[in-house]
């Protein structure tokens, strides 16, 4: 197995309201792979992702990034938000360059980098549009380009396709796979869609709800180098979907 770039050890989280969201979560995320946190709603998967991102404090445990414990956000991790979180007053170009803007990169340089990633996510020509002028799928591409622009090794994605319509989602998933493989990113991905998890992931961590714990780790036997249509008819893919469904059934 490849070395882990992110590890979580004994993570526990109880909200102020007294709800225990996570208990003793241990996971490692292999470098250069796409790992999914999958589970029914209320299993704390987004909470876990935000703890890894350093956006939420934890009550117990440790987050290790490249072997070092971390306690807040860092430049080696970039986040893609479920609701896109784009600045409505800023153009696509400025939104994509925003991470670099916060780091104090000069305007010319950060816009040059941003333009490159805008083109990579397929939004060339939309640099000067505003978020309100874009569809949901396009807005999330902006969110993805912003995460790529800061050149983080680890991309954290919180249900990035849940606000995107079905047709757009398929195309987006395929583009995402290509892009991430090309840039050799490590991705931690939160979803509640079994198909999405089985289709995209190298590793799937199934979480059980209330309190969230890791109930099983599945490594789908899917060859991601094959075409999307082949994958969707692939034996390994279909078996993985069945296997996960069998396990999740008890929580629904």
């Amino acid at each position: 197995m490849t070395e882990a770039i992110v590890e979580v050890k004994g993570i526990g989280k109880t909200y102020d309201s007294g709800v225990e969201a996570l208990r003793d979560v241990n996971l490692s995320f292999p470098k250069g792979q796409l790992s999914t946190l999958l589970g029914p709603s209320g299993c704390g998967k987004t909470t876990l992702l935000k703890i890894i991102a350093g956006l939420l404090p934890r009550n117990a445990g440790q987050v290790l990034v490249k072997g070092k414990p971390v306690d807040g956000p860092g430049p080696e991790r970039a986040f893609v938000f479920q609701d896109f979180a784009l600045l409505p007053w800023a153009s696509v170009l400025r939104n994509v360059a925003f991470g670099l803007e916060l780091r104090g990169e000069p305007k010319e340089k950060r816009e040059e980098v941003a333009r490159k990633y805008i083109a990579e996510v397929g939004l060339k020509g939309f640099e000067h549009r505003y978020p309100a002028q874009l569809s949901g799928g396009m807005r999330q591409r902006v969110g993805l380009a912003r995460a790529l622009t800061v050149d983080a090794d680890i991309i954290l994605m919180d249900e990035p396709f849940s606000s995107v319509d079905e047709q757009t989602r398929r195309k987006f998933q395929e583009d995402l796979l290509d892009l991430l493989r090309h840039h050799q990113k490590t991705v931690i991905f939160v979803t509640h869609s079994i198909e999405e998890a089985a289709y995209l992931s190298d590793q799937i961590a199934l979480l059980s709800p209330r309190p969230g714990r890791v109930s099983k780790i599945v490594r789908p036997n899917v060859d991601h180098s094959r075409s999307p249509d082949e994958i969707r008819r692939d034996r390994g893919y279909l078996d993985t979907v069945d296997e996960i469904w069998g396990m999740l059934r008890q929580y629904v």
Binding site: L55, P73, A78, P88
Partner: protein, 243 residues
Amino acid sequence: MKTLLSLVVWFVLWEIAGRLKLSTIVPPFSAVIEAMFEIAPTEKFGKAAIITLRSFGLGMGLALVVGIPLGIVMARVKGIGRLLGMWVNIFVSAPISALVPILMAVLGIGETTVVVTVFLFAVFVITLDTQVGITHADRSLVEMARSFGAKRHQLYTKVLVLSALPEILAGVRLGAIRGVKGVVIGQLLVAIIGVGELFEVYSNNFLMEEFWALVLIVFLFAFAISEAIAALERRVEYYAASR
């Protein structure tokens, strides 16, 4: 177009009422307009206008410099928000004019009193609206900025204030309208400077044409300021609607 028509109707009625000499305090509208052009170029009016504008400008400036940061702090620091929230809410609806005589006793009869009156008229609504705007700023934008390593001051300058801009501008517009009231009331009660002094002179000497002309000028000034800020608001409305 409709507002224009409505204005014309009322001005015509005013003109008729004036010509019929129904009341000595209502001169014909045309005479008032004439008086407006007569008094506007005079040195006396010029001086009064400058004093008035200066008091208004200083008071409003102070209200912005205090009101906006105070609103931000009240929204971001819960304890301070609770501590001051009640007072701001009381003062935003309180008849501030009642305080002017007290201010006069403390600050003396002069421009300072007027500046402070303008400030008190304008500041609370600005604070309140800023607080609401910042409180309702998109939380996921704040999270996003943090995840990309925003420093504290960047969070404010690049996210929170811009996010609350529609509410802040609405507060500034309402504050400016109240500020015009404040400057006139302040000067009227203090009664020896600026436009307030002119009002006194005209009404005491029964110069009704000049008096109404001055009223119109003040109205126009308040309207122009409010419209200018409203135009600014419309420019940011576009993104406000998409939040």
